[in-house]
Subunit: 229 residues, 2 copies
Amino acid sequence: MMNEITPLERRADGGPGPIRRTALHDTLVSHLRDMIIEGDLSPGTRLHEGQLGEQLGVSRTPLREAIKYLASEGLVELVPSRGAVVKRFSAKDVHDMLTVLQTLEELAGRLACDAASDAGIAEVRALHDEMVRRYKIGDRLQYYKLNQQIHSAIVQLAENAALADMHGVLQTRLKRIRFIGHEGPEKWAAAVAEHDEMIVALEARDKVKLSEVLGRHLMNAWERVRASV
Amino acid sequence: MMNEITPLERRADGGPGPIRRTALHDTLVSHLRDMIIEGDLSPGTRLHEGQLGEQLGVSRTPLREAIKYLASEGLVELVPSRGAVVKRFSAKDVHDMLTVLQTLEELAGRLACDAASDAGIAEVRALHDEMVRRYKIGDRLQYYKLNQQIHSAIVQLAENAALADMHGVLQTRLKRIRFIGHEGPEKWAAAVAEHDEMIVALEARDKVKLSEVLGRHLMNAWERVRASV
DNA sequence: ACAGAAAATGCTGCATACAGAATACAAAAG
DNA sequence: CTTTTGTATTCTGTATGCAGCATTTTCTGT
């Protein structure tokens, strides 16, 4: 993280493959979101329209639209006459978010056991195995990313768009925090063990168990990150 | 509903009281949100920037920013190169939203019993009594509004910002639907009875009971609206 | 030297202008 | 009469320009 700020590539031009007409709005939103999550724009930073726009190579208009979008997502805060600043989350905020996330994932677990296809479960299993492999070789970054993917995938299995939406918003808001949380070896091992229980419960379509493990996992997540916020 | 579309009043000018510096952005967002909820802009309708902007008396720039904000809220959908359309919800969508809302309110009930102040509970009681009064005189509109307020108020008592956010988004998305749901006298009575149980459980700070009633109430809400979606 | 006021600078908020894409329409061919 | 293709119009997407507010800097008086 803390990358150099680079102009975003607008590959409306050639490049191989079908000429994907990427909407600038979406690109900008993703880009800004990443910049916030990865810490290029730290909490409290003012989003300077002129400056930021020049760095990214876009004019102020689409940039402002993207900022409004992110404001609705809760990543930035709009201050009248003073633009937008990257939102800062207190420890209580993080705890609150994890509480809600816990409840949502418990629900997702129950729904997923009913709604998921065998193929869907197999995909999660594949992600899980890959994650464990990354764990064993100590690849924290990929472990982290696969971890997130697994949680998202389980939510997807629940086949509930509203649930996926709400989960996505909270997960995005928390990414910045969780990314930082570097747990020690023993806590990391515990997290992996929980994930093991998870996948077993999912494959058995054991609602009660899966829901319980997901809930416990997020309770523990708070313990893992509370020090860093 | 189905009001005439009127230009929004921008009282940056005089008027009594302190010169409230109302940000146009917020005003526009609220206004558009209301137009969608109240059915002035029905699902599938294209949000015509030029036309809509002229009707509201604003230029396209702030209007587009407001639309982007609403898109992130999930009320409108952005179609590349074709602007924005009011999002249409299927019966399954509504059911999904109610499922999540149910889970969130159950959580809110549990948290509220711990976190709420006596004064806060008293305020909900006041809303409840007023709502019952409106029920008795058959004032559907005010009943409906107070109903929503009570649910929001209980969520507020939980003192969890993330929970309030997620609940708010879903409640807003559902407003358009629930507004339509005209239940018969017996179902209406049942809903009021549930609200009675609710306030009693809240005053007793009975977590289990309050959570259960809130959950049941929203289960039944689905039964009440399923016909109209 | 310091406090307060006034000017100056920089930024946001809104409006307008321009370019490109999508759609609607019309004319021509089958 | 249907289909297709070329053209015209309309609307979106992006850039730029201007006015007002906030903040900072500088000037002035004690």
